[in-house]
Amino acid sequence: MKEAKYLIVLTGVAVVCAALLAYVYKVTAGPIEMSKNAAINEGIQAVAPEFDNDPVSMMYLIDGQDPLSPVIYPATRGGVVVGAAVKTVSKKGYAGNVVVMVGLEGAPDGQLRVLSTTVVDMKETPGLGTKAKEPGFAGQFQQLSVPPDGALFKVKKDGGSINAIAGATITSRAFTECVNVAVKAWREHGAAALKAAADPANAEPVNSGADAVKGGANG
């Protein structure tokens, strides 16, 4: 008889808790999705060259199987390609992944410039790694010409020209890696991305892409 009471009370509490959570989940699901999309949209607005298309609808995922692969948001004005925003993930952050939106100016096969960058997501040490968001560090990636010979950006410790944040070399490296990956992604996959956007019928399945982006934002 005692066991029956355990069972009834435990089940009762579990059912009530589950109902509460189901309700809260339902109420919050919309705003959570919206705030994620808003973060992406704001990021594109902030870094890409001036555009008049809808980069999100032209979104191109380099590898639909890998949620951490770069995502290209091509930017066009009057039908001419002016550049792209590329969302890249570096696994080399100090605390988890560093997700950066990199704005690039120029066609994939032409002279490229890094216009600006913005951090989409990072869990780096507040006040230290998070300084990557501030002009002192991120400003180095503004109006920065990409070497045509394919040389990578590096922090000074690795023989490059980027000043790392004092005490946060790991974050600086991860951030720099994001920029390099973005440049490479636009160079190598930009043409494919534009083709896919122009001809949606032959494009990669959009669904896998959309799911993968969600995963990326969580990661």
Partner: protein
């Protein structure tokens, strides 16, 4: 217990039995979430909500819960309230939710909440339990705010992200205060001061 005035149940958690600075409970999140005042306030508010709600819920059902299964039931209730906080923060305060990260879900295993449920709410009425949860949660939040005040001010030169000492200080701030050792230093000095005052 029942003879102590109601207000005492609230105020004891603030000073004489302050969970963070006197009982030294919940130290791990206290070290991790006090890098900025904003984080400390967010974390403190979450703990206040969960402590109060779980105390109320535990106290309300204490007469029908058999002793043998009380712990799983406490954990279930606490986890539910924590998830409510976590989802709400993600929905309406995405920035704060990002910077607090894992420490909101980790409130589930925070010893303060379970200790108050087990030691107080399971044996006392709903109103007393609510005040007790509110008091110990507020005490914890005040502790967090005190620690983060010094850490953000000295380590970053800002309060609530507003520059206090100007840019020159910000660029040469006392970096160690933001790092984990700064949390130990600050917490140790604050506790030492409190002990000194209490003995006099």
């Amino acid at each position: 217990m029942a003879s102590t005035p109601l207000i005492k149940e609230f105020t004891k958690g603030l000073v004489s039995q302050n969970t963070l600075l006197v009982l030294l409970l919940g130290m791990c999140p206290a070290l991790a979430t006090t890098t900025s005042l904003t984080n400390a306030v967010g974390m403190g508010a979450a703990v206040i909500f969960v402590a109060t709600m779980s105390n109320i819920a535990v106290s309300a059902i204490r007469k029908i819960v058999p002793d043998e299964v009380r712990i799983p039931i406490f954990v279930l209730l606490i986890a539910s309230f924590v998830t409510v906080v976590d989802l709400s923060m993600k929905a309406w305060m995405p920035g704060l939710s990002k910077s607090l990260g894992l420490f909101i879900p980790l409130i589930v295993v925070n010893c303060i909440i379970l200790a108050r449920a087990e030691a107080f709410a399971y044996k006392n009425g709903v109103i007393r339990s609510a005040l007790d949860g509110l008091g110990s949660g507020t005490g914890y939040a005040l502790g967090l705010i005190l620690v983060s005040f010094f850490r953000e001010l000295l380590g970053n030169g800002t309060l609530f992200n507003v520059s206090v000492f100007g840019e020159a200080f910000k660029n040469n701030a006392v970096l160690v205060m933001i790092l984990p050792p700064g949390a130990f230093l600050t917490l140790g000095l604050i506790i030492a001061t409190i002990n000194k005052i209490r003995r006099v």
